[in-house]
Subunit: 473 residues, 2 copies
């Protein structure tokens, strides 16, 4: 497990300023204590170009109508069956007992990690997730601008304090985090992060078009990569990246690994619902309806690269890939995988080019029929996955999952609102420690998510032409 | 207003047994007091061939999850704008104050009416609606078998008593109702009902395939007809019926009128929702999701003509035409009418031929995109219409209507569960009295409902071929 030992700082890294982040030396601009990011209050209004992730607001579409509450404890068969992760158990009625997924590796030396990107999603999600994961040691942050890297690092003391408080620890162990950026002094650019031997893993959260080249560079440097979704702007680009990855992996005797960060696959609510559906036999009908309005004052809308996207789908790709991933949790395997699609696409809000609406009819290989309706440019509010199977029906709407077996009682379970990113990052770390990436984070899964949408977009462009899926798992 | 005077009994009618229906002489087979049909408890388990109406259970698909309650009072602009009917006002919090829609004609002599059909829907809906309408005088019931006609008539005393009690009247005025059937003595067949001068209007609720010929016969006899939906088994048959009607109407100087009974257009909840949407400008997105399981033990499933339907769509036509009608309340006018459709159809439950599922993507003339997902063969439970407009969003789910103006507060209104049939029958009577049929009951509306579905069925048969709507209003 040489990857896990704390490697000495490389010469180039040693030449860099080492920043000991302290809360008293790096207060927030507004002087307030940083909010706990997993509560998803805005930590910062920074609108750097490399922020992620529009789709995070996965439960944010139902406004005041959503009921809130806590779920009872459960263990996900869906996850456990793969034996890769043991999900954080949700404590019943206020009892908070955490079983960290990465605990199996916590006795080893932690994995040195760098975060590439300093946008909203890094600040609000990746950073707290890394700091909360005992098997990861954050060693560096890279962002396009030093200002962005600094504003990200400034959040660390508060997050560490919050994590310590939650764990009931009085001692806070602040990490040593080096900052890198394109506008820093020589020796502090991206290539320098990737050349550090004490950093064996990187989380990459950059704009969609910028990301594949950085992923390839990180893989070439032998790093374990967790790259934000979508895997690429389109299926050909994703296939090229995957081919490059496998070539690189072969060349380096499997040293590097590529995982794609799709946090929706780690949201307990979806895992619970998909698991319930999987017990009910073949899917017969489904309906996905995710409708919201990406308003001009939305923090993600402010991002320049999102306002003028150079990739298909615009917000429908950026956020929609999450909804595709959640749909695909139900549409798995030979019988249930998506087989064909016809779709209509539309641009309703001029500020959301190229399209903001997709309405599709999807058929599975097993003959089930379903609709996928998604818009970022509508006043309709919906966040719903309905799946009927031969043996029952499962519905995930907002934070509530309803399960109705054919001859059984209907049950409802209300889940805590969570992005899934902490579990996602912990699962990634665990995969590195075990030497086997988590299959829910495989590039092939992310490719299938992308294809699920892309065939809809293409069908929409071609007036509803039949699209045939080829990459579903 | 010669049509409204109580004409003397014709010779053929005089020859018939006149049945004075009394509760003590015609008890129910099971000896129980008839239930109030507008509460929609099964009145009878009679499974005569001419029962209607599978789609009545419009709110019956959400089981225990549905909230129940009463709506506050409202008056429908949607209805009042046409100035044809003044809907029954729903009294707030228990105060029951009824303003019968047909009250404007109640000072005239009542309209003599016959009911053609003696199935479930007549027993549970049409019969109580006719008896509750002061401007209608029930004079005859025809059914295929005398047994069915008798079992229908046997319900009258209880219904009259219930109506009197509701109106606070101590006196019950029992109508004189003559029974007709194919197995009765000569002079008591269908043709004899239609030849009676004291019967100027007929309600026809027969199996889908049997109905058009009877409608034509009634029109030829100069009657005002209220015929159950769908108007016919398919668009060509419906067009032929409408052509025949207009020819007949011209030949009789407009004496006869044809109205189609689509009770969903008279359900206050839909009228309220459609009216709210109409105030919000052009439709941008919509979603219709009506999912249920027509189980073999369902009373409507027991009907022979439904189990082996000789018409397209099976239950999807029979019940689906209601859901199409409700959808079309939102999709009206030059901008919002449905323009094109692509659909997939499926048979999931072998007992529901020829198809039990349709999933469609519909585009309006104004470019809005929507999905229409309907199945009678699924374990999914849904009864939802969502419509987004430029100025807000309206949702009807179960009995609850949610209205969210773009810059306003979200409001929820829970409606009483009702079939709309009493309002529908009263509106029909009012139209007769005024000499102008209610436009919501026009055959052209019913034709548009039928086309809305038929294009989906055809597209499904042809693997999603684009269908173009031509008859939407």
């Amino acid at each position: 497990m040489s990857l896990l030992r704390a490697a000495p700082v490389s010469p180039s890294a040693a030449a860099m300023t080492r920043l000991r982040v302290r809360r008293d030396t790096l207060p927030r601009a507004d002087g307030a204590a940083p909010a706990a990011a997993d509560k998803r209050e805005p930590v910062d209004t920074d609108t750097e170009d490399d922020d992620h992730d529009v789709g995070l607001d996965e439960g944010g579409l139902e406004g005041g109508a959503r009921r809130r509450g806590r779920t009872g404890g459960f263990e996900s068969i869906f996850w456990k069956s793969s034996d890769y992760i043991s999900p954080e158990r949700k404590a019943v009625s206020g009892e908070r007992k955490r079983v960290t997924m990465a605990s199996s590796s916590s006795s080893s030396s932690p994995i040195g990690v760098a975060i590439i990107g300093g946008g909203l999603f890094v600040k609000e999600q990746h950073l707290p997730a890394v700091l909360a994961c005992r098997s990861l040691a954050l060693r560096a942050i890279y962002s396009r601008s030093l200002k962005s890297a600094e504003s990200t690092a400034a959040l660390i003391p508060g997050l560490v304090a919050a994590a310590a408080a939650e764990a009931g620890q009085t001692q806070q162990q602040q990490p040593h985090v080096d900052l890198y950026s394109e506008d820093s002094d020589p020796g502090r650019a991206l290539v320098d992060v990737l050349s550090r031997d004490d950093i064996s893993a990187v989380i990459i959260a950059l704009p969609i078009l910028a990301q594949p080249a950085v992923v390839e560079a990180a893989l070439a440097a032998g790093k374990h990569v967790l790259a934000e979704k979508p895997i690429a702007k389109d299926v050909p680009a994703a296939k090229a990246l995957i081919a490059s990855y496998h070539a690189q992996r072969a060349a380096t005797s499997g040293r590097c690994t590529l995982s794609i960060a799709e946090n929706f696959r780690f949201i307990p609510r979806f895992a619970y619902a998909a698991e319930a559906a999987a017990r009910m036999g073949r899917v017969t009908h489904f309906s996905v309806k995710v409708m919201s309005h990406m308003r001009p004052d939305n923090k993600y809308y402010q991002t320049a690269w999102r306002q003028e996207p150079g990739y298909q789908g615009g917000f429908l790709l950026d956020g929609g890939v999450h909804h595709a991933a959640a749909a695909r949790l139900f549409l798995r395997g030979e019988a249930n995988r998506a087989a064909t699609v016809r779709a209509a696409t539309d641009l309703v809000q001029p500020g959301l080019p190229p399209i903001d609406t997709v309405a599709a009819v999807v058929r599975t290989a097993g003959g089930a029929t379903g609709t996928f309706l998604h818009s970022a440019g509508t006043l309709m509010e919906a966040f719903e996955w309905d799946v009927a199977c031969e043996g029952g029906w499962v519905r995930s709407a907002g934070e509530t999952v309803t399960v109705k077996p054919k001859d059984g009682e209907k049950t409802e379970r209300v889940f805590e609102r969570t992005s899934g990113v902490k579990d996602e990052v912990a699962a990634w770390a665990n995969g590195i420690a075990r030497g086997e990436p988590n299959p829910l984070q495989s590039p092939e899964e992310a490719l299938a998510d992308l294809e699920f949408l892309e065939k809809m977009f293409v069908s929409g462009e071609r007036d509803g032409e039949l699209g045939r899926y080829e990459l579903q798992l």
